[in-house]
């Protein structure tokens, strides 16, 4: 769920997507990589980044873990800033503090292009934001942070790339605004080689967001309360539309348990494995009167389905994927859908059966409607995509071939908005009972919840989720590599094998969430980003101990109460 990127960049720049194309990295001189592991989660971009680094660009890695890019063949980061989970905003403020108080900011750029300049500059110059004052919170040696800030600010082109290690925090949205602030004060926007660039969580996540999957927006990131926007669709569809926002996924679970949200149609997402606090999610799914799952596989969520509808693979799809650089790519079927219908036809059939005749004849016709109703897609059609190969939105009359770099000369919202990004610690903190912090992520050979990759021989490389922990944390607990350990938080317990690793800082442990048998999300909590309710996957207070045997977990006990539920084939 990339909601904090959408919220934060929209606040700062006026549009909810990354500022550059991927090619832009070829012009970057200093890359600031925050909360992302491209070699595991974005290998294609990682190759382009490494190519640029081999040409001499400098790299700053801000991540709790000593990720591969910190030091690997032909690549050595200039600085590794081991920011502690939960301290991102304190870190980015310290970076901007150094830039501003050392006079390294681009006065001309901020005066011409930004608003709230004096308010922000006086806010960020406050010594409470200095690297020395925040060292204990961020875990980053102040001298390293100062040096990294100088490197980024004095680069000809400084570019920020970030991942879910930014967004999946209680201050995810604030951190996105904090990075936008840093790019604005250094004038690193509106040309090639710079920008604020999200490395997204899924291949088509931007496409889903573009086309109205947020419960408060219509396609093109237009709020449902706008009468003029609703009017476009009301005239076209002949129906009155609700001007109020809907529930976000965690709100749906809460409302299911509260008795007001009773039906769910879930397509191509395995919420029972991917969402935090599995026991809570499963209880919510059990409370619903109707769960419809449409997927390629009988996934974990399918246990709770009253109706299962078949999905199609990308090889059978006719449509578009939109990647993080706003590039709309055609996806063409190499074989007809084996189940006899395209996924969108099934959705149309449901709508028709419910009384609205949703009679599109083709995917191309749906794109034509998107273009006719969404200004940023005005020039998009399957024909144009076939002619051009692909297009980066906005595609408009003034930019008929698309827009590789955004905010050139002026931000979409006019002036860029500098926001006072106050650091507010998460309520999830290490304590006596749960003295370690768990953070989660991915590995190269598995994708997300593994629904697709676990069913391949990729499992040879990564057959199970492993808990990585620092030698000191392992030693005091008597844990050796390969031991079965119990991982507990205030919401749940699971068991997995340990790997003692100096990639981890002391006090922080790490695992992936690819395997349902481990179920990392059994221990993650209900905490979420304050603005968007994107779950705080990256910070969970936990305890780890040697497990003598793998006992029954709370989750398994809860499942035992429901023997009728379908077990997903592994």
């Amino acid at each position: 769920m990339p909601l904090p990127t959408g919220y934060g960049l929209n606040q700062a720049f006026g549009t909810s997507a990354g500022t550059q194309d991927f090619k832009s990295v070829e012009q970057a001189d200093v890359v600031l990589l925050i909360g992302a592991t491209p070699t595991d989660a974005h290998p294609v971009f990682a190759s382009r980044l490494k190519k640029r680094l081999r040409q001499g660009a400098r790299l700053v890695v801000a991540d709790p873990r000593r990720i591969e890019l910190v030091r690997s063949p032909h690549v050595t980061a200039a600085y590794h800033l081991p920011v502690l989970p939960g301290a991102n905003v304190a870190f980015v403020n310290a970076m901007a503090h150094v830039v501003v108080t050392e006079g390294l900011h681009d006065e001309g750029f901020v005066r011409e292009r930004c608003e709230n300049v004096d308010g922000y500059l006086s806010f960020i110059a406050d010594p409470v934001h200095s690297p020395e004052a925040t060292e204990e919170v961020t875990g980053i040696p102040a001298a390293d942070l100062r040096a990294a800030a100088r490197l980024y600010a004095t680069a000809r082109n400084g570019a920020i790339y970030y991942g879910l290690g930014v967004t999946e925090h209680s201050q995810g949205s604030t951190m996105v605004m904090g990075m936008a602030n840093l790019a604005m004060v250094t004038g690193n926007l509106g040309r090639e080689g710079v920008g604020v660039n999200p490395l997204r969580g899924q291949n088509n996540v931007l496409g889903s967001c573009d086309l109205g999957s947020f419960p408060h927006e219509f396609p093109g990131y237009r709020h449902v309360s706008l009468d003029a926007v609703r009017g476009i669709y009301e005239r076209l569809w002949g129906r009155t539309l609700d001007p109020e926002p809907g529930l976000r996924i965690p709100n749906m679970f809460d409302s299911a348990l509260g008795g007001s949200f009773m039906g769910l149609y879930v397509q191509g997402e395995d919420i029972a494995q991917s969402d935090p606090n599995t026991q809570h999610v499963e209880a919510a799914l059990r409370a619903m009167e109707l769960v419809v799952v449409q997927d390629l596989f009988l996934n974990e969520t399918a246990r709770f389905a009253h109706v299962f509808l078949p999905g199609t693979s990308f090889l059978e799809k006719d449509g578009t994927f939109t990647n993080a650089e706003r590039r709309i790519n055609r996806v063409r079927p190499v074989l007809p859908p084996r189940q006899g219908k395209d996924e969108w036809q099934i959705t149309c059939d449901i709508a028709t059966a419910m009384g609205y005749d949703m009679g599109y004849a083709s995917a191309a016709e749906i794109m034509a409607e998107i273009a006719a109703t969404t200004p940023t897609f005005a020039g998009v059609s399957f024909d144009r995509l076939d002619q051009e190969g692909s297009l980066q939105w906005p595609v408009t009359e003034s930019a008929p071939h698309g827009t590789p770099t955004m905010h050139v000369g002026e931000f979409v919202r006019g002036k860029g908005k500098l926001v006072e990004t106050v650091y507010v610690p998460t309520t999830e903190r290490a304590n006596r009972r749960f003295p370690l912090i768990l953070t989660t992520g991915r590995i190269l050979t598995q994708y997300n919840v593994g629904a697709q990759t676990r069913r391949t021989s990729n499992n040879t490389w990564h057959p199970e989720d492993i808990l990585e922990l620092h030698p000191a944390d392992a030693e005091v607990r008597g844990i050796r590599t390969g031991d079965l350990v119990e991982l507990s938080s205030r919401v749940g317990t699971t068991a997995l094998r340990a790997l003692v690793s100096e990639r981890m800082p002391a006090g922080v442990v790490y695992t992936t969430f690819h395997h349902p048998v481990t179920g990392a999300n059994v221990v993650t909590t209900e905490n979420s980003d304050w603005a968007t309710n994107c779950p705080e996957y990256k910070v969970t207070a936990v305890q780890v101990g040697v497990a003598n045997a793998r006992g029954e977990t709370d989750l398994e006990a809860a499942r035992r109460e429901h023997p009728d539920e379908l077990a997903a084939p592994r």
Binding site: Q171, P245, S255, E526, S528
Partner: protein, 69 residues
């Protein structure tokens, strides 16, 4: 805050904490605006019910913001 607090209490207080540095009037306006733009009406209704019931865990500024909805 108790762990069993209603979700709206936790989520409302999360928002209020982000604006704790602002004067009362500004913070309340920002909280109310956020609730209107991003919360489903049923969540706002539950929040108002919690305010009416005098929920002790609710941030004072969320209480005032809820009354503006």
């Amino acid at each position: 805050m108790t762990e069993t607090a209603a979700p709206e209490v936790r989520l409302g207080n999360d928002i209020a904490r982000q604006f704790a540095h602002l004067p009362d009037g500004d913070a309340v306006a920002r909280i109310a605006d956020h609730l209107l733009r991003f919360w489903d009406p049923r969540m706002r209704a539950r929040l108002r019910d919690l305010v009416a019931a005098g929920d002790p865990d609710l941030d004072a500024r969320v209480v005032v913001a809820a009354e503006l909805l």
